[in-house]
Symmetry: C2
Subunit: 260 residues, 2 copies
Amino acid sequence: MTPSGASAQQPPSRRIAEDLRRQIETGTLRSGAKLPSERKLAEQYGAARNTAREAVRLLAEQGLVTAKHGSGVFVRTPQRLFRFGSDRYSLKNRETGLTPFRLEAKRQGKVARIEVPSIERERPPADVAERLGVPADDESVVHRENHYFADDEPVQIVSTYLRWDEAQGTLLMQRKTGKDGIYGRLQDLGHVMTRVRDEISARMPTPEEAAVLELLPGVPVLEVLHTSLDQDGVPFEVSRYVHRADQTGLLYELPVEQED
Amino acid sequence: MTPSGASAQQPPSRRIAEDLRRQIETGTLRSGAKLPSERKLAEQYGAARNTAREAVRLLAEQGLVTAKHGSGVFVRTPQRLFRFGSDRYSLKNRETGLTPFRLEAKRQGKVARIEVPSIERERPPADVAERLGVPADDESVVHRENHYFADDEPVQIVSTYLRWDEAQGTLLMQRKTGKDGIYGRLQDLGHVMTRVRDEISARMPTPEEAAVLELLPGVPVLEVLHTSLDQDGVPFEVSRYVHRADQTGLLYELPVEQED
DNA sequence: TCTAGCAACTGGCTCAAGCCAGATGCTTGA
DNA sequence: TCAAGCATCTGGCTTGAGCCAGTTGCTAGA
């Protein structure tokens, strides 16, 4: 009999992957369920182990499934998203004395932890230099790298860039930046955050990012290039946020400009 | 000699991938350049073809290279991003008579084309029902599916959901919706877009999305769940945007709430 | 001069076999 | 009773072989 349907002329690995995908989507294989082992799948479908393995890899690439060395392959449980709202920059939130991340974590009932692996004077990346209005061929910025954890799970990597001439010799060069964090110190310097510009993109993580964020295959990252502008429209801080996309989302709520 | 450094105890496929990655990042392999063939790589590194192949796959997963059947593997050229600014909702732009997408395309010197594969009455997905304030167990919405192209390249898939009781019998059920598009008709119905809520996440595409958007392996999608609120704070339209992340970015510019 | 067709490249996919390493639970000896 | 250790699961990774299907450019014949 000639096989019919869309799955007919597909290679075996795809056919197996499609079959499993359907089982996951229809609930035959529930969230958290264990798939048959690679060897069993191969036997069931009359294919080589490598072919079954390839099918599993395809599913993992789509983020549907995750393999655990030694124990099996499991249907991934959708994680509740850790949402970063656009009001995280709101000055009203300063009153709480919490930084935006701690605030967001608290709101979602998680324990926040922040590591500061490095604070160094550096030459800025081209995109940062452009937005901060500093020379790219000069050690014109201070780069603060932060790693953020919620309930001990790594959630995001943040690289903050500040003008060296402003940060030099201030608390901005220290791990502990005092009340209201770096934004408090920047306000002391006369910068009131008045507008923000967030440029958002998505991509696959670099191997380093995957390691820090403990990312499984098939999980992309959200990158936000954030610029803070003060009351005079001067950019005074640029940060690059790298979020794991399987646990993080962004939320922007904004008014629509009316016609006159 | 015992091999030293981080690459020492790594499996061969990773070692090869790392090596190629370094060559790409240092410019030894420039953008658009052709990598050695799988068979040549295998020979160079003294590995099996499958191992070299696995290394190439790792790079493709990271979005660094792209394979062309029959001709070779090439270093991917970073595409200029098609940015969707938050002012795309601005009512001022209505004056141009262009829909947000056409406007954005024109701004970037590209030719926009929009296909409308289907307009149907449906039961809304749970997340849409919740945001639009309609029952999820009823055919309470009209679903308009649109595919957007820029210079004939597919850029985004948009699913727009409107209340069935409002759309029934109006131009909202037609392909041609008249002046100012659906937002014009919704305004006729008394809904002035006053606030928007965009929920952003990133993930790997489904096979269907990958097909429509002609996505190469290693390219994630940006998903925006958009809600339009009118002058009374009533949600009157929900859209799900699925953007290809290799050519698309989002831009949000917004004022920061001040403390009193 | 042109073109049809072929050879020799490319990646796509599979197979069958093997060794390694993590996880797990049973068994056996203290 | 308890714990050490081992058998036997699991996925991780490699090998080397083979066939298929796009692509490309040369070559021979009209």
